[in-house]
């Protein structure tokens, strides 16, 4: 396998424990270059934990993560300039203007001609009207777009997106999805996406990893999963998987009570 067609992300036997709680129980998966993969699962399934480990801001208990051929555990700084991330869990300095925030991150990522890159992103993501306004004065939707601009500043080869359109209205959300699809087509960027928006998954993702209780319980393209579960949409597939978990938990509780 050459470097060009090697998977962009390789995760092997990833385990994360917080004391007695096992957040990830030995998951392994690969994400091909230039694909968009969704990480799906209910709250606490392990999506954010997985993304955090991929970014190197959370250390796994054991297991390995390779991104673009680099071992994240040992040399994450070699690859961080080639990837980026956006999440509602993090924010940007509120007193700085949008332009100032993006300028600081352009310098951190070593963007040449930062001014024109920021100008281009502002146009594409419709930030121009509030580029010189304080980040803290923006609406949640505007902030999400600014965070996305920050994540795209360095033209990442791997983009990790945690709920990328969570606070956007349907119109802006649709524009953002179109933008990300175009960006991926043009740049062959690899995207890994944690979301609860099943329409987004059906539209954008070529592959889906279904997580439950820190384990990958199923995998396939949206159409494969919909066919496998005999459902009409990913929404219904998601509900099947999530409720199966609750039913199993209920059976377990019954057994414990009977026992």
């Amino acid at each position: 396998m050459t470097a060009a067609n090697a998977p962009a992300i390789v995760v092997t036997d990833l385990i994360k424990r917080y004391g007695d709680v096992e957040a990830l129980r030995g998951i392994s998966f690969e994400v091909g270059r230039g694909t968009t993969t969704a990480l799906l699962g209910g709250n606490g399934a392990g999506k954010t934990t997985t993304l955090s480990i991929l970014l190197g801001v959370l250390l796994p208990t054991s297991g390995r993560v390779g991104i673009l051929g680099v071992d994240i555990g040992a040399h994450r700084h070699r690859v961080l300039s080639r990837m980026n991330f956006t999440s509602p869990y993090v924010d940007l300095p509120k007193r700085l203007s949008v332009r100032e925030n993006l300028t600081v991150y352009a310098k951190l990522y070593g963007i040449r001609d930062a001014k024109s890159r920021i100008g281009a992103l502002a146009g594409e993501l419709r930030l121009s009207d509030f580029l010189d306004r304080g980040y803290g004065t923006l609406s949640a939707g505007q902030r999400t777009r600014v965070s996305l601009a920050k994540a795209l500043l360095n033209r990442p080869e791997v983009l990790l997106l945690d709920e990328p359109t969570a606070s956007l209205d349907p119109d802006v959300g649709d524009r953002m999805r179109s933008y990300l699809e175009n960006y991926q087509r043009e740049s062959h960027c690899t995207m890994l996406l944690a979301t609860h928006n099943m329409g987004e998954v059906e539209r954008m993702c070529t592959d889906v990893l279904m997580l439950r209780g820190g384990v990958i319980v199923d995998r396939g393209s949206p159409s494969q999963l919909i066919a496998r579960y005999g459902r009409a949409s990913m929404e219904q597939v998601f509900l099947d998987v999530a409720r199966q978990a609750r039913d199993e938990q209920g059976d377990q509780d019954d057994l414990e009570q009977t026992g």
Binding site: T48, V57, L58, V90, P93, L96, E100, V104, G110
Partner: protein, 267 residues
């Protein structure tokens, strides 16, 4: 690793704080406000006591110099800690840690900001001392540079340790940033010689680099002598303190990475 890239990333961190200063003049003024008010108070104490006190009569800058040097230590420490707190208040730590910024570059950025904050704070107070009381801290001559280096490095090491503790325990431990330095004040001999301390406390004072700096300052002011022995003792101790402070901070970053706190940390 390209050193030019590191310099650029450190510059980006500094730029982020300078943008903040530009936005908030009260923030900049507050840097100089407390050192100036404290200096003015001690200057009037000097005016009051000087006619009856030989030491103050011979060296009228005794208290003013001490206040200004003490603030180098205090502002130096706060400068390191507050730069981290700003990132935590704005929930920006996660973005920084997923960027190519390395932990030592984060530390370097905090240290540069500490120097800038200290120069603004102490510089403002020193200017007022000169304007109102005709006392120039530069009258100490080159030894001032030696005192500055030793005090700011001690401030850095305490600031890094405090930053580590706040990373470990969250912003609830923020008060440490304001309180930590004052634990050292009684044993630093800022306004009195270490010899006035009880015998059992003197070894503790001698383990604090600041005590050697203030002893050195008194020698310069009263006898116009610079003690290289006191300077190198403080410097040696500072190396030890700096290693300790950095180790605490790096351990806290690792702790935060083990528990996934970097993406969630904030107000």
């Amino acid at each position: 690793m390209n050193p030019a890239d590191s310099v650029r990333r450190i510059g980006a961190l500094v730029l982020r704080h300078l943008y903040l200063f530009r936005k908030s003049w009260p923030r900049v003024l507050s840097l100089a406000y407390y050192p100036t008010v404290t200096m003015i108070m001690w200057a009037f104490v000097t005016v009051y006591l000087a006619p009856t006190n030989k030491a103050l009569h011979d060296a009228p800058g005794f208290f003013i110099g001490a206040v200004l040097l003490w603030d180098i230590l205090f502002r130096g420490q706060l400068g390191v800690s507050l730069s981290l707190f700003e990132e935590m208040y704005s929930r920006n730590l996660g973005n920084l840690f997923v960027s190519p910024l390395r932990p030592w570059e984060l530390i370097a950025g905090q240290l540069v900001m500490s120097v800038i904050r200290t120069l603004i704070g102490v510089g403002g107070a020193a200017l007022v001392a000169w304007l109102l009381f005709k006392y120039s801290i530069f009258s100490m001559g080159l030894p001032l540079l030696a005192f500055f280096v030793n005090l700011i490095v001690l401030g850095w090491s305490i600031g890094l340790a405090v930053s580590g503790m706040v990373l470990r325990w969250g912003l609830g431990a923020e008060e440490l940033a304001w309180a930590a330095i004052f634990l050292l004040a009684p044993v630093s001999g800022v306004y009195y010689p270490i010899s006035v301390l009880p015998g059992w406390l003197q070894p503790v004072a001698h383990a604090v680099p600041a005590s050697h700096v203030f002893e050195g300052m008194r020698q310069v002011l009263q006898h116009q002598e610079f003690s290289s022995r006191l300077f190198f003792t403080a410097l040696g101790l500072n190396v030890f303190y700096m290693i300790g402070g950095t180790a605490v901070y790096l351990a806290a970053i690792r702790y935060a990475r083990e528990r996934g706190m970097l993406l969630q940390m904030g107000e």
